[in-house]
């Protein structure tokens, strides 16, 4: 798995490429931690190249929901494949984490 980060105006974009599983989820966790340490408040996760997600990946997103709500940080996921989105839907996490279609939509949320 590969993580990329880029700043686009006020948005901090984290791109995930490949498989997000028990062996790689720590990299995503570190990328989000880094964003928080940099005081980023508008984080977009570009999932266009994310091919697989397991509970380890879901758990990383889950663990920040509370803090982000308290600290007014927005986290929006975009461009998920149907396969990846289905995994969020199994436990209803798609209702607790903001998921939109395109990166442009993510910027307007």
């Amino acid at each position: 798995m590969r993580i990329t980060t880029v700043k686009e105006n006020e948005f901090y974009i984290i791109g995930i490429e490949g498989d997000l599983d028990a062996s790689s989820s720590i990299q995503l966790d570190q990328a989000i931690e880094e964003a928080v340490a940099n005081k980023e408040s508008k984080i977009i996760v570009d999932c266009s190249q994310l091919e697989y997600i397991s509970s380890a990946g879901l758990g990383v997103f889950m663990s920040y929901i509370h803090d982000f709500q308290e600290n007014n940080i927005s986290l929006v996921l975009c461009q998920l494949s149907e396969k990846v989105r289905n995994v969020f839907q199994i436990l209803g996490l798609d209702e607790l984490i903001k998921i939109v279609g395109t990166k442009e939509e993510a910027k307007t949320n």
Binding site: D19, D21, Y52, S54, S55, G59, S63, K83, L91, L96
Partner: protein, 140 residues
Amino acid sequence: MNNKIKIVRKPENLKTVRDFVSTTLQSMSVPDPEINMMVLAVDEVCANRILHTPSNPSEAYNNIELEIQNDNNNFTFLIRDTGDPYDINTHESPDIRKLIAEKRKGGIGLLLVKKIMDSIEISRSEPYTVLLLRKSLKFV
């Protein structure tokens, strides 16, 4: 076709497990959405076995074996290793909102497995712990 695989119990080998399940189920003409769900369930169980079982000094005891059987679209995934038995069925299903409030990163893997599979059996046959995941599919 060989429906068995053996991997060394390491997280980086989960991809090999997923590819094996996916390829095997494709060869059995299972539709993609069902393949994706079963791949996830097997991955979760193997990850659980890898992360929560201490490694054994003997290399022979650090493997996970997986076998896939298909009897008229009744699928059985047999997962065997030498780790301690852990009864997935007595594992209390966590409340997602509670996990979020506690900022937990783990705890939902087995919940996913229970949602996807029809049944999960665990037994001990020395020196092995054997997990059987079953799923029946009805194709249109």
